[in-house]
Amino acid sequence: MKLPIYLDNHATTPVDPRVFEAMRPYFVEVFGNAASRNHSFGWQAEEAVEKGRKQVASIIGATAKEIVFTSGATESNNLAIKGVAQMYAEKGNHIITAATEHKAVLDTCKHLEKEGARVTYLAVQANGLVDLDQLRAAMTDKTILVSIMYANNEIGVLQPVAEIGKLCKERGILFHTDATQAVGKVPVDVIKDNVDLLSISAHKMYGPKGVGALYVRRRSPRVQLTAQMDGGGHERGMRSGTLNVTGIVGLGEACALAQVGMAEEGKRMAYLRDKLKDRLLAALDEVYINGTMEHRLPNNLNISFAYVEGESLLMGINEIAVSSGSACTSATLEPSYVLKALGAGDDLAHSSIRFGIGRFNTEEEVDYVTAKVIDVVKKLRELSPLYEMHKEGIDLTKVQWTAH
């Protein structure tokens, strides 16, 4: 076993060596511009792009023509939301999203608010899921788009996408889902789920960084978008810019590998994740899981170790790469807005760690991490005045703190 151990696979994943091998010829040998229609260099590039398009379409149950390649999920989210808001401005100006969305969705919505759009940010329940009744109640005649993520990047919870899709279809509202964390991890089907727009990123599924895709439904309804990038009219005019052929080959291969291995890999991820979870819960008191375990990515565990501050915990396990919702790990000094949205309290947000298990993690690594985390949490609790007070039976919520 080699240190450090990478267990932050929601942030990014390594490129699968098979993906890398598939990409390799497209740097130096096959370098053509896929838009070059009159020579073999262009034809070869185009062939590679179209293969990738089919592979991406296949993993979400779409057709190749419905895939628009982008630079990643942030761009896909921007194109979907701004593109719909502008294209359907005459129909309405209301967008519904959720408080726990990724910043690429939230900040896009805030941008549109400045331009006159009205946005509803749905609160989530304590388990992290959107309340369908609240969603239904928020829909108006002016609602043109609902954007709710498939799987959350911090707590891994899976939103009831199929139910949301059904609701949107009934009301004639377009449904966009940021499926960055879900595609390749859990089965995604845009037909079954009534999804109209879906964002994909390659680097979260063992593909390269800098490439992604947006699924744009072509039939019932045919979704139209206002382009956000003007230029040569690539990707049926929806996204100009010379195609990233190498990246698209990588994204396609990553999708193909994930699709074939998903069931088996999902089982292995869930086994390792549950082993980690069960051992932490058995060894430590005052440990809280953030978000429902029932509807969750198989490789995610987000857990708060009460009375221990997240950054100090990360410091103690410095040979293990994970993330914390603690303020101290971010530039803003604000704890995770996702955890705050669950209503768990800022103190538990400060004490949270996100584990993201990946394809290349071994059981030995997960066991090592488990033992190390238990060890450091115990050590830090000996240092913690809050744990001491808790043990003395003091109710910390009743203490008059000197906020600073």
Binding site: Y307, V308, E309, E311, S312, M315, G316, S326, A327, C328, A331, L333, P335, G345, D346, D347, H350, E382, L383, S384, P385, L386, Y387, E388, L396, W401, T402, A403, H404
Partner: protein, 140 residues
Amino acid sequence: MAYSDKVLDHYNHPRNVGSLDKNDPNVGTGMVGAPECGDVMKLQVKVNPETGIIEDARFKTFGCGSAIASSSLATEWLRGKTVDEALEIKNTDIVNELSLPPVKIHCSVLAEDAIKAAIGDYKKKSSAAVASDQGAVRVQ
């Protein structure tokens, strides 16, 4: 973020961790910060009433590595100082000693606040004790 060697040393080998009896008249206790802000420091001093010298200092801290290091360092510095010398410790001294980056300066501020709170608590206790002693004299 990279930690300085001194922060790492205090984090890995915190000095003077623990608690003193807060009901002891010679012990001053300071607790500052709030859980929702991500750091709480408890700092205690035990003062020799004859000499006014801090004979023992202990801490417990919930917070990031820099907060732990700041309070650990504070206990080291407090030991052997008089109560009045202790009040001269400034957060900037802690920043310099631990090479804290700008984003962690609040940890040193909290440590200075904790020192002031602990000394303040001790002074309050001892002046109350003096007052009650004087009261006792008058009764006699």
